[in-house]
Each structure stands twice: as C-alpha cells, then as structure tokens.
Symmetry: C2
Subunit: 456 residues, 2 copies
C-alpha cells in the first residue's frame, strides 16, 4: 500500500466465514430477557411463534464464532467485503494531523448495513419452511433491505409502514415495491390492532409502536409467517459483526490501528457491527481503542436514559429487556435521523456501556448535518442522517487532535448513504431544522412509567 | 473463479493508465465540426473560450491511447475499477440459457458513469488556471457529478438547472448543493439570455436549450470560467472508455466473451464508454460481438433520425456537428429517462452506426420500467430510468436465446442507479406512464428545419 492509498478492499474470499459473538467474551453475562407476565426469564419456545429457531438460539448463544451459512456468504458477495476508505480529502479540509478512516456500508443494494442481517434472517426463515415475513418500518431503510432479502429466498414480505411516512415518503415505498415487498400503511384494517386504532381514530397517522403490533400480530397468527426485526436484538448485532471483522483486516492492510472507533447508535446494530470485533481484541488486551457510541441529543438513551428493564415497544407486547431506555412511553420528536428515533438501546450495546467497555456522546442534528455536508463536499458521499452523527464525532475528534497536536487514528462507520433522505438536507439548507433538548423533568416523567420488575 | 462467482472485481492497479480513442481505428474519419457562420471546419481557437486546450486536443485526436493523468486515476480509485456482475438470479428468473453480465457504474459517488469524465474535465480545467465551471442540467445527474469533481480540484461550479426541474426535483438540487455547487434556476437574471427570456415570459419554466445558453454565456464572458458538457463530445466519450477497458479484462476473468454488448444511448457517453474498447477489438478482427445501442421510442435519434449536420442546442449557439438527429427544433415529450431526451446523438456514436459497426433499437418506456422492476427484484439494484433501456434489451435478448435454445453471452452497461428517480417508479406503479410514438409527418417537419450546410 502506498501512502496515497485511499481505498482498502479485501478480496472476496476474505468475507468472514463466521460472525463474531461478543457475548462469549463479556466479563459478565447480560441480564436475561423476562416474560412480562411472569417476570421470569423467557424460554426459546416463547419466541418460536415470531422468530426462526436458528435466530432464537443465537439470541442466547455464548459461542464466540457462529458460522455464516454458505448461501448467505454467496449473497454477501454482491457488495461485501465493503470498502474501507482513508478520508484524506476530509483530513486536508480539517487541516488535522489525525488519520481518518471510514468503513462504508452504503455500497449494499439498499444503501446501508441493514442487508447484512436481512439476508441472514431471510435465509434462516426459508430453511425453517417459512413462506412470509412481516416487519414494520418507519423511514423504510429496513423495509427495503428485507424486501431485497425476501425476494432472493422466495419469501413474501409484508411491511407495515407508519401511515404518515407512507404518504410523506413515497420514494421509500416505491423502493420497497420495486424490490417486491407489499407495503401496507399502518394502522391498517388487516389486523385487530389496526382496526381498533382506526375505530377510535379513523384519521390516525400511525406510529412505529402500532406498526410493530400489526406486524407481530400477523406473524403470530399464521404458521407460515414470522416476524423480522432490523436492530436491537442480539442475533441482529451478531450478523452485523461482518462489518468490524472486515474492518480489522482492512486496518491491518492500511498498516494502522484505530485509537478511536466511532459509530452512531439508534437500536445499536451498525454500532455493534463495527465495534464488537475491536472490543473482542480490547477485552483480550490486544488493542486498546476508545470506542464511542454517538446518539442524537433529541433521543439520548445512552447519555441520559436509565439502565433498566423495559418494553421494546410502546404497546407493551414484547418481552422485557434490560437496556438503556428513556421509557417506552417516551415519544422522540420528529427529527430527521429516523433510524435513531428509538426509546431504548439494544441490550447488547447497553451492556457494553454498563461494563465500561464503551463511551457514549450525543450531538444535536444541526451540527451533524453540518458535518455531513463537510463530508459530502470532501469525500463526495452524502451520508444518511443517522450516519452524520458518526461523521460529526469523527470530525470533532480530528479537530481535538489538531488542537492537541496529536495524530490519532480515527475509524468510523459510514452506515449508509443519504440518497433517500435528501428532504432532510433540503430542510437543513432551508434553515428549517431545529435542535431539541429536554428538561430533566420530562425524562423523569417517562422514567416513572418504567415497569417494576421483580428481578431488578 | 468458481462457477458461482457473481462479482468480478479488478485490483486497484488495474484501473486503466490510458483511455482508448476509437477515432484512431475508425476505417474512415469522422466528418469535421463546422463553424455555423462560415460553414468551414472550426479551429481549436474557436473553442478555447469554452473548453480547456487539453479537451479540445482530445476532441480531434487520432492517438489510440491517451494517458490518464495520475491525479485523475487517484480520484478514480474511490470507486474504480467498478464491479462487473454475472446476473445469475436474473438468468434463473428468465429461465434462459444465456449468460448475462452487467458492468455497474452506479457505485460512483454520484451514482452513475458521469464522474468518469467530470473528474477529468475538472482536472484539465484546474491545470489551465480555470477557477469556475458552468454547466446546465436537466435531471441533475451530470450537475452533481461536476459538483463532486469541482470540489476536489477547488473549482466553483455553477449549474443552470431547468426551472421546472429545479422546483419539481428539489432532491437533485439538494444533492448538488450538498456537494458544493451553486444551483441556479434557469432562466435566471444572471445572463442576457436568461433576462431576454424572462422579459418575454416572466413565468417561463425554462428548457435545456435555455440553460445551455446561460451556461455558455457565463463561461464565454469570464476569463477564469469555462463550460463543461457531460456527453455528446468526443473527449467525453474517450474519458468514458475506462468502463469498457475494465469490462474487457473482467470478461476475461470470467472466462467468457460477449456475443452481444448493449448500452442505452442519449448523448451516447455511457454507450461509447462500454462499447468502444470492444469495437476496437472487433475492428482488429479479434472478436465479433454484436453491439447494440438502445434508445427510447419517444426520442428515436438513431432509429428514425437523419445523419446530417445540425446544431447541438435549440438556441443554435453551438457549432454544427454531423450526427443522427431529429432536428434541433424537435421537442421530446416529458418521459422519465431525462438523460435520453436529446434531439441528437453524439457524433462519435452516430459515426459508428453510419459505418455499420453498431446496431440501434428503440424501446417504449413501459416495457423498460417493467424490465427494470424485474431486475430490481432479482439483482436487488433499482436501475436508473435511462439504464432500464439497456436492461430491457438484455432481457429480450436472453428470452430470444431461450426461444432459440442458444446460450449467448450478453454484456450490458448498468450506467446508474435509480435512487433519485423513484418518482418515475412511483408513476409506473400507479399506472401514470404512457408510451409515445410519432407520426412520420411530425419527424419530417423537424427535419425540414435542419440547417443547410455547404459541406454536405
């Protein structure tokens, strides 16, 4: 590699053969998932109506390496190994001594890291005889990834899309339909949950919590149908570890090692995907990078939330998981990084923070978009609004290096491109975006609604 | 390579070191470009106010290989060599014995082949002391590519965007602004041409011809400013030859040779880019693929146009070039493949058809979108509306193979993704698109307006 090399690309045969499961290396195990009725740890059979057994097994696995099925690796080959770039033009623009690297997951067919798990989940479902997958989507990135994966393995995909998004974001819907999914505005008349909402309010705009209820209801009702989730759960985090496993090798190709590893975190899957392989090395004492999760100040689960048992959805249909949460009743405002608008944080990522393995920071959206534009103008890629949070922290870190006169190596995850999010950039340019903070009193009220769990 | 290999990726050091110029190998030379006033061949100095000398020299070069400047190759490394894929899932869906390959140019920062020439043009302009580039854009793909390239080399980029598109396609505009360009709705008050139009019609929606006039006027007026064009001209075609040069090597990696090479053609640059290296081999007798240009039936320059001298713009400001044309007064309807809405065809591509080196077919947009959706549902990539024309012809050819029971190898150029064209897919799904044919009488009227040139 010359000094001018900007792209580090692995050959196809270096797509990992096994995912990495950090649960094998945690110094203390994660808290069990609890049944909301009994308050006792749930059994695999409790989840069987919703998920294939292979994913349920991964959910509680302590195997360090989980073999990637060959048909999944075959599909990965379409865009993996994804490139790792040295952001030399960004470095020059910031006039920083820091070395900035980014792993770029926007090269996937749907433009983000989501297909890494969508393909695996679709494969396992097909193997277990499932004919149809249901899911919910807000912005649509996950919906289009599952649509892509479902088509490949011959599964129907029904996406319950929050009605207001369905109408406001017709291009996301068109993308899902172009990829073969059926996209249903939620609340719909297809489910009891949807009908109940419509009866009370025929003009309901919907909400992610309602869409989840509809998707779960449809999956639970039919034997040939299961439900797929794009983040939060452990098996999703495990599937995403391909990102970090490749990045480890690519940093070696670059002859460098990161001093800081950064990713944005909403449910936590692109974050866990990049950082867990590095944390595995850190736990073994082989490297010692700082690892930083970046979240929006308008939905500050890691920086201002409680580490407590809570429901995963607003309708309280899911099991109870121990996570950093603002409370299932917390309604984040309508800011543009839709993928980061979740009241909780994936339990695996929450556990990492609890153990002190990672740090968390929050940023306001205006600063994030500004960093995103700086990135677009130097590196030529328009980041997804979610990914701008990682860009912002990487830029700040590079500027700290400049102020200190130190030359750290910074690695961040550019989890997706912003091609379907140009309205956000338009609003930013037009000065229509605002930052949003919370009085502690508002958060405290949401905390008061947290469920009381015997196990705590 | 195993039989299952679907992606053929060259290492970075296989980015070509020289572009291929088919003008060196044409059995008869292209007709000269004429000055519209004198009817005599134009001199390089006539073009100097608009283009850098390096590009003007390439315009008439008969050198077979034109060295790619190292700073341009450096930028190419961000996305080049672009992948060549075997479309196995599409083959299975069509149940065809054909082997279908596609070269994918959508991996570039702006999502199409356009940066291949934008980067080269920006470099040459910077080398010759230019500070600012002007251009026009309809849909915005070219504008965003030049914005990207201009930023890299420290050039300001002013894009005159047809006013109706400026308002109807705010996401394209946001993309250009995110990449650092100034985007001006045309007609504007910045130019004499724009002011004249606005005086006559304050509510003018603009047109590509007007935007060209504005961009050319601004470039001609200022010493530090030049004009950049994204297709049609010979130097643009030459820059795009990196596509075919890589594809030649990748087909060798695949252990295969194309029997048919297909690309869509509007101005002709993605077509020439893919096919000229194959045609060079064909002229030398080293291979004998059929080479097919695909155009929209609603703008049938190659299949129904005349091979004659004509103006490149509706305002008759450009020199006269010999090309397949529907007449500069022909106004194509507002179909969705905006990049294929040009009354003429690049002179180099026109010359290929004139010499019998290539064939041309036209397709209606409904069939093209249908093929595009089939492609998205199998290969996972939503093609740009322009690119669906190549997909349609490849699918038809594969179905002919099936009917004949022959197993030909088909290679086509997937020149870009459709992420910024989802309105077109939405309209297609909603049944709002129509096909459009022309009575010969309409075309004949446009032909009557062709300039009479002494040299003919």
């Amino acid at each position: 590699m010359s000094d001018d090399t900007v792209k580090f690309l692995l050959p196809e045969d270096r797509i990992p053969r096994a995912w990495y499961n950090i649960m094998a290396d945690f110094p203390e195990p994660m808290a069990p998932v609890l049944h909301p009725g009994t308050g006792r740890p749930i059994e695999p059979d409790d989840l069987a109506p919703l998920f294939p057994m292979a994913c349920i097994a991964q959910e509680v696995s302590t195997e360090r390496e989980i073999e990637i099925p060959e048909p999944v690796r075959e599909i990965y080959k379409q865009w993996r190994p994804s490139p790792l770039f040295r952001a030399r033009r960004l470095e020059r623009a910031l006039d920083t001594p820091a070395r900035i690297y980014y792993k770029y997951e926007g090269v996937s067919p749907s433009g983000s890291h989501k297909p890494n798990t969508a393909v695996a989940q679709a494969f396992y479902n097909r193997e277990e005889g499932v004919k149809r997958l249901t899911t919910e989507t807000g912005a649509g990135q996950w919906g289009s990834s599952l649509a892509f994966a479902g088509q490949i393995f011959g599964l129907e995909v029904d996406v319950y899309m929050v009605k207001v998004s369905y109408h406001q974001k017709p291009y996301r819907r068109a993308l899902m339909e172009a990829c073969g999914a059926r996209c249903v505005p939620s609340p719909s008349t297809e489910t009891a949950a949807g009908r109940a909402i419509l009866e009370a309010d025929p003009d309901s705009n919907g909400a992610l919590g309602i869409a989840i209820s509809e998707a779960v209801e449809m999956a639970a009702q039919r034997d040939d149908t299961k439900y797929a989730l794009g983040s939060v759960l452990n098996h999703v985090m495990i599937h995403q570890s391909v990102i970090g496993l490749e990045a480890l090798e690519q940093m070696e190709m670059a002859g460098d090692a990161p001093d800081v590893v950064i990713a944005c975190a909403g449910g936590g899957s692109n974050f866990a995907g990049l950082v867990t392989p590095f944390l595995g090395r850190k736990i073994k004492g082989e490297m010692s990078p700082r690892v930083v999760a970046v979240e929006p100040a308008a939905c500050p689960t890691l920086t201002r939330g409680r580490f407590a048992y809570d429901f995963g959805d607003t309708a309280h249909l899911t099991p109870l998981v121990k996570m950093h949460t603002l409370g299932a009743s917390f309604m984040p405002p309508g800011f543009h990084a839709g993928g980061l608008r979740y009241h909780g944080m994936g339990p695996m990522v929450s556990h990492m923070l609890h153990l002190g393995l990672i740090e968390a920071v929050s940023h306001h959206q205006l600063g994030c978009f500004e960093a995103g534009v700086t990135f677009a103008r130097t590196e030529g890629i328009v980041p997804a609004p979610e990914s701008t949070h990682a860009v912002k922290e990487a830029v700040d870190e590079a500027l700290r290096c400049k102020a200190e006169g130190t030359a750290r190596a910074i690695l961040f995850n550019l989890s997706g491109h912003g091609h379907f999010d140009m309205q956000a950039y338009t609003d930013f340019f037009d000065g229509k975006l605002e930052d949003r903070d919370y009085d502690q009193a508002i958060l405290d009220r949401a905390f008061d609604a947290l469920p009381r769990v015997a196990a705590e």
